[in-house]
């Protein structure tokens, strides 16, 4: 200090966590809000069509800090030019909204979203929080075993960061008590206890998912989009939750063929529909590559139900064959703008097997319930608990 009226100091701020605590609370609220809006978010185009970005922006309305305010778009605002501005100059151009976006509230003028950044994986984890692969069984051949670290032992030697405080203090108290004294004495090196770990291998059941999609001419952009949303999340989910899931993509019109994931989602074809073709291919693939002895097999098929009527009986027969080798067969029918009197769905209603599930989806918000229906775990066989 030099006699003038000021003080300068530097404190230890390392315990000051206020901002972090409230930030955490804010994050919590973001998650709550996302969960509440999952049905809308699941079919959000910008997420499904995202181009490989890891982090996506999820629009949330409920986290705005509401107060009375002017309509920003109807106000005049002040700005500053570089000296050469003229009346009529454009200061800022709003990005054009992508076409085909639904009737979301975001279309209203002057309305803005609070956008939360989340990763797709986080979002997938939220969507599938209570879901799992149904009817999972321990199969013979665990193909890949995943490594994991488990703290399962306590030793007297170890590295300082792994000190087991509770046991160390217990030891000290014990030692003291043996001397007939109360309380906690000074901790000596003999008291120290360390947690140690073992590498364990987690054996997971193997599962293969057969993703089948109708790509015939009657599947319009909307129908494809719905199927695409469903498979998008299904793939995310399976890959985040299980190390050991294989996915086979099968596209069909009157004939079926195996495709890559990318082709599956991007290629469009045309022509009529013969669903039996894809079931037949699925059965062949199962026979050749995925023995039901070793794999849990899940088959999902999406179509608009506009199948050749003469083919329907064959479909039923093949579905029944699939049910003999699969843990679950799912059929999703997307109700497009046409109305069909005889759809595959009505045919499939005749199938009476607990391992067969069908849903019909009318609009975007139907994707989330469909996911829930397909992946809800059967009450008697909770999938994930059978894993380890």
């Amino acid at each position: 200090m030099s006699g003038t009226n000021f003080i300068i100091s530097r404190e230890d701020w390392s315990l000051h966590r206020k901002g972090e605590i409230d930030r955490e609370r804010h994050r919590e609220k973001v998650r709550e809000a996302i969960k509440k809006n999952l049905a809308d978010i699941v079919s959000e185009e910008s997420i499904i069509m995202h181009d490989g970005r890891k982090i996506i922006k999820v629009p949330i309305r409920s986290l705005d800090e509401f107060h009375f305010r002017f309509d920003y778009g109807k106000q005049k605002h002040g700005g500053q030019g570089d000296g050469s501005s003229k009346k009529g100059d454009v200061v800022y151009t709003e990005p054009q909204k992508g076409p085909g976006k639904g009737k979301g509230a975001g279309e209203e003028p002057g309305v803005d979203y609070y956008e939360a950044d989340v990763t797709i994986d986080e979002l997938a984890a939220m969507i599938f929080e209570d879901l799992g692969l149904p009817n999972l069984e321990q199969k013979k051949k665990p193909e890949i075993a995943s490594e994991s670290v488990e703290y399962n032992d306590v030793r007297k030697k170890g590295i300082a960061s792994n000190i087991d405080r509770k046991r160390t203090i217990k030891e000290a108290i014990k030692r003291n008590a043996l001397k007939g004294e109360r309380g906690l004495p000074k901790i000596t090196p003999e008291d120290l206890r360390f947690k140690t770990w073992d590498l364990t291998y987690k054996f997971e059941s193997n599962a293969v998912v057969l993703a089948m999609m109708d790509t015939s001419g009657s599947m319009g952009p909307f129908e494809k989009y719905i199927a695409r949303s469903f498979f998008f999340w299904m793939v995310r989910f399976l890959r985040t939750k299980y190390n050991n899931v294989q996915i086979v993509f099968l596209a069909h019109h009157t004939e079926a063929k195996e495709t890559t994931e990318e082709e599956f989602f991007t290629k469009g074809t045309s022509g009529g529909t013969r669903c039996s073709s894809v079931y037949k291919l699925a059965l062949e693939i199962i026979e050749k590559r995925y023995s039901p002895q070793d794999y849990n097999i899940y088959a999902f098929h999406f179509s608009d139900g506009d199948n050749l009527v003469s083919d329907n009986d064959k479909c039923i027969r093949l579905i029944k064959e699939l049910l003999e080798v699969c843990n679950l067969v799912g059929y999703g029918e997307i109700e497009g703008s046409y109305y069909y009197t005889s759809t595959l769905k009505t045919t499939y209603k005749r199938i009476n097997n607990p391992n067969f599930t069908w849903v019909s989806i009318k609009d975007k918000s139907g994707v989330y319930p469909a996911l829930k229906k397909f992946f809800s775990q059967a009450p008697d066989q909770s999938g994930s608990s059978n894993l380890s």
Partner: protein, 476 residues
Amino acid sequence: MDPKEELMLLEDSLDRITEKAKELGLDFYDMFFEICPADILYTFGAYGMPTRFSHWSFGKAYHRMKTQYDYNLSRIYEMVINSNPCYAFLLEGNSIIQNKLVIAHVLGHCDFFKNNAYFKNTSRGMVESMAAAAERFREYEFKYGRPKVESFIDAAIAISEHIEPRVMIKKKNEKEGRRQGRKESCRIERSPSPYDDLWDLEKGQECQEDCSEKEKIFPPEPEKDLMLFIEQNSRDLDDWQRDIISVLRQEMLFFWPQMETKIMNEGWASYWHLRIMRDLDLDESETLEFAKMHSGIIQTSRTRINPYTLGLKIFEDIEKRWDNPTPEEKEKYGRPGGEGKQKIFEVRATENDISFIRNYLTRELVEELDLYLYKKVGNEWKIVDKEWQTVRDGIVTSLKNCGYPYITVQNADYNKHGELYLKHHYEGIELDVYYVEKTIPHLYTLWGRPIHLETTLDNKRILFSYDGEKNNKKFL
């Protein structure tokens, strides 16, 4: 650099800078400087105070600011509190030259806090009051549960801008108003509180009134201070809830003068960091670093007016015009010249942003700074006005009531059912309808009965209502 050595160097420059500032006529409180790491400074920035109650909205602000800092998008160098002694926080890692500029800037702010008329009634012990309030809020959370306290704060924050900052001026009218309105308010039951004896003081006054007089509308005069009005007149609030409203209102009263003098305050501080730094002996590299930092501060933007730049330019212009008046100014206003310094000190003491802009933003400045007004046309924002008076008045309009809509309580017993009738005083700019419909439910939480808000849309008067379950609107 070794932290100790750094601190000594800093102390040395502080010594010189405060000396210089005093010599130049700045008048500030005792200063308390604290060096803190970025996450702490940004925490303070988000809360506006070193200690303030917990709320997720501060967490949100902190997250935004911190992220920008982490990505190197923006940086705050300091944060200064209107208090006595004056607390100022410097960012750890500022270079010596950055800190010199920041210190000079901070002294400018402190001089402004101490001498500007609008700060006259701010509590200089707010650091402590806010810390105490934070502690009480935390106790409420323990006692009544976080969800309950949090959602009540959500509601109170939603209308926290609606206060009457001219507390002192208002006083007189209020007294009259209260006497007239008493009749009606007699019927409002107040939950017993430890301060009941204070209300008793007014009893004598009341009894002199003729109590059989016809019913009057309450409040007798439209009331701008929604926060105070609700705190005093809402029927079913618990003490802790009234306390929350009261605290938020006090904090808003404290921050309001800073909001209504943003341009002046930043301009003044920038003026002084420039002035003081020029007087210090800087070597070449220091001068360069200083120039870089200063130009960052006064960087202009096409979509908003930088308060630092505008404020600084106006102060410099005033000084110039009072030091060397034109012959016309000499003759017309009897301005002798050489009074520049005196004039800017006078302006910093008596004006706020609105009067500052209205009185001192000249045609020459508007043109030199290339200021304009822009507006949304289709999906483009276009410059619509360059005429200097329109631009000046446009800026003034945007500063009115610190940019918040002017809303008053008209009737606290609407429909004879204790419903709250509010009116937005429409002055040509419509409200954000979506926000209105989301905000009145918050008011319902505070008032406990249906809420109505009258405003104007498409030149028609419209009433938004919320009855506890749903929104509804009708043209009047």
